[in-house]
Symmetry: C2
Subunit: 389 residues, 2 copies
């Protein structure tokens, strides 16, 4: 049996940082995916193995299934229908299995992803021999939700293989889970995210699971449906950043200037609400799409100014802003700031020549450019030979 | 009789644009001056002339006093103690005298300054022959209050020559007018400003007259006294801008996004109030001056973000910001935005090497750099030979 799953990355359209202080934020899926393929292998007497290939990094990890069973059978899996947090004791057992693989020092940040994989695999599928292959279009650690996409794609593929979730395997192409399966998937992905991030907000896995857009405020999520095509240039500055330090910096600035900063957070909240309204409002014709795009551009520019006011911009981000400004394109940072990625709205009627020029200029600065449609489908699965590998 | 006057330019420390929407703003004098020297000449029978020399531009305008009298005696001057608006009818008569001078087309923007000069001269001194020389350290039309400084310096020199204002001519060095003379001076300068700007706010001439700093909100001015030395690098982008269009742009954005923009204006108001408090609070030692400077830098950075949110930044301003950021210096635009000048705080303990480096880099971009002490004296007069000409 072979199943593929894909799960999208995400961007924050508005409200990052301010959301920590009670503002509304809007997140959206992007049509850049992490792909997971699982091939369940027939059991043999002595040579059953579970293999995880990270194709983009040319890395592979492999365990004898017997070895995994010996270590983890005390955890009592599989229990696909009851998403469960990995206890500290269980984590220790899994970490021992991960350490046996001698992950190269330079790639040690992958260890938490491998840990999440082993937890999800044994909890959902138990101890079956299989080969699992991962590829991704998402740059790692740049705020595009690559770890959530990984956990969602793992969980989706695993659930599709489990007897618990009922899927019509004869259907062609990418399939979407039903409502209750999506809920289950999202919960499992969140458990995986916890092993990677400690205390994830749950936004990234929810966007990756359900796709489209989500408005969130003080822990409350609202799914919103975009009524317009939306395309962004995503520029990865490749500047790594410390999200915790950035969030702490904004909190300290808020303590020093409470009145000013609270007004700033209010402004961000208004911008997020407006953005959600513009995105949901039906566009009646081309003109009205252009008008909506211009409104979004203005709101992005405003949000960026407020992020600068919070002190989370960065020289690399400013370079991107100034480059896109030359072409009269509106941009804002996305995510925690201090580096990471910058969004630039690409209007429907924008000429391809301009897009090529701005990308060439950004790439000449050493940045990575990706073009993504915004607000598409969430997790999907597919049966058959993975032609995209 | 010979008298010199000097009047300082101004910067907006915080609150530009937002002040139009009810926020507090803080303006301060800078120790860059416009100088006016007046030499009253003895009357002759036929050759009495009034000459205005603009030394920096190598321009001179000269009228026979008889010609001025013939044109303007109907206006009924001099009336130094009663600052009066120039009526439309009077303006027409003065403009005729200005037009006779054939100002070169490229310098036609000076015509309004010459008009203000003739109005102030004849209203305060009547029809005496004199040579008036103007020099200035202030770039024109870049938001540093050059026209107000001109009107204040004209008015101060003229009032010092008039019999109405009593000054002890035997005193040496730069002298400050008394309280009631300052009030009179400020009113006359405002009348001059009206001929140059139509509807000036009165802030520029008030700062130039009184010096130091002024907090203003909804037309109410409060003088504030700085308790710390403050030095700024002023970078003139040389990008001309349309203040009216910029103000209109902010107003339109406010109509489109009332909630967000009103929060932004509230944030600016808090920043201006905080800035005024920091500047006025007594500094106890060097450490505390550094702490105050750092607070001002943070407030400047925040204000700049909010100005970007209002949409009044400009590529040239961003270039200055990014250049100074490389040296970890905080900057903000000053004035209407869209070009004009950028302020960069120079901390007391900042090394001269850094200052030279950043200036060299900014000048290599084609910008003009000035260093100015902030919050010094206002208008001053001096009797005797003008050694600075």
């Amino acid at each position: 049996m072979e199943v593929k799953a894909r799960a999208p990355g995400k961007i924050i359209l508005s409200g990052e940082q301010a959301v920590v202080h009670g503002s509304t934020a809007v997140a959206a899926s992007i049509d850049l995916y992490t792909y997971v393929s699982i091939k369940i292998l027939p059991s043999t007497e002595n040579d059953d193995r579970l293999t995880l290939q990270l194709k983009d990094m040319a890395l592979a990890f492999s365990w004898p299934v017997g070895r995994i069973k010996e270590s983890l059978s005390s955890l009592g899996g599989p229990f696909p229908s009851t998403p469960t947090s990995c206890s500290t004791a269980s984590m220790k057992l899994i970490l021992a299995l991960v350490e046996e693989q001698n992950i190269p020092e330079a790639k040690i940040s992958l260890a938490s992803g491998v840990t999440a994989f082993l937890w999800l695999y044994t909890s959902i599928l138990g101890f079956k021999p299989a080969t699992v292959v991962v590829t991704s279009e998402l740059p790692l650690g740049s705020g595009l939700g690559s770890s959530a996409a990984l956990c969602v794609a793992f969980s989706a593929a695993l659930l599709a293989c489990s007897d618990f979730v009922n899927v019509d395997m004869k259907q062609q192409g990418w399939l979407i889970f039903g409502e209750s399966e999506l809920e289950l998937l999202n919960k499992w992905a969140f458990e995986g995210e916890k092993l990677i991030h400690g205390k994830p907000s749950g936004i990234d896995n929810t966007v990756s699971t359900y796709g489209n857009m989500i408005k969130f405020r003080s822990g409350n999520l609202t799914h919103i449906k975009s009524s317009m095509p939306l395309k962004m240039l995503i520029t990865n500055t490749k500047v790594g950043r410390n999200t915790k330090a950035l969030v702490a910096g904004v909190a300290e600035r808020t303590l020093r200037h409470p009145d000013a900063m609270n007004s700033v957070f209010n402004a961000v909240a208004s911008i997020s609400e407006e953005m959600a309204n513009v995105i949901q409002a039906p566009a009646l014709d081309d003109l009205s799409i252009t008008a909506k795009e211009e409104k979004l551009e203005e709101l992005m520019e405003m949000n960026q100014g407020l992020l600068q006011c919070m002190g989370v911009s960065h020289a690399s981000i400013e370079t991107v802003l100034q480059t896109t400004l030359k072409y009269k394109l509106a941009s804002k940072l996305t995510g925690a700031g201090g580096g990471g990625c910058v969004l630039t709205l690409l209007q429907t009627l924008l000429s391809g020549t301009i897009v090529h020029k701005v990308i060439a200029e950004l790439e000449s600065c050493g940045f990575q450019c990706l073009i993504a449609g915004i607000g598409g489908n969430g997790a999907e699965i597919c049966f058959g030979a993975p032609s995209w590998l």
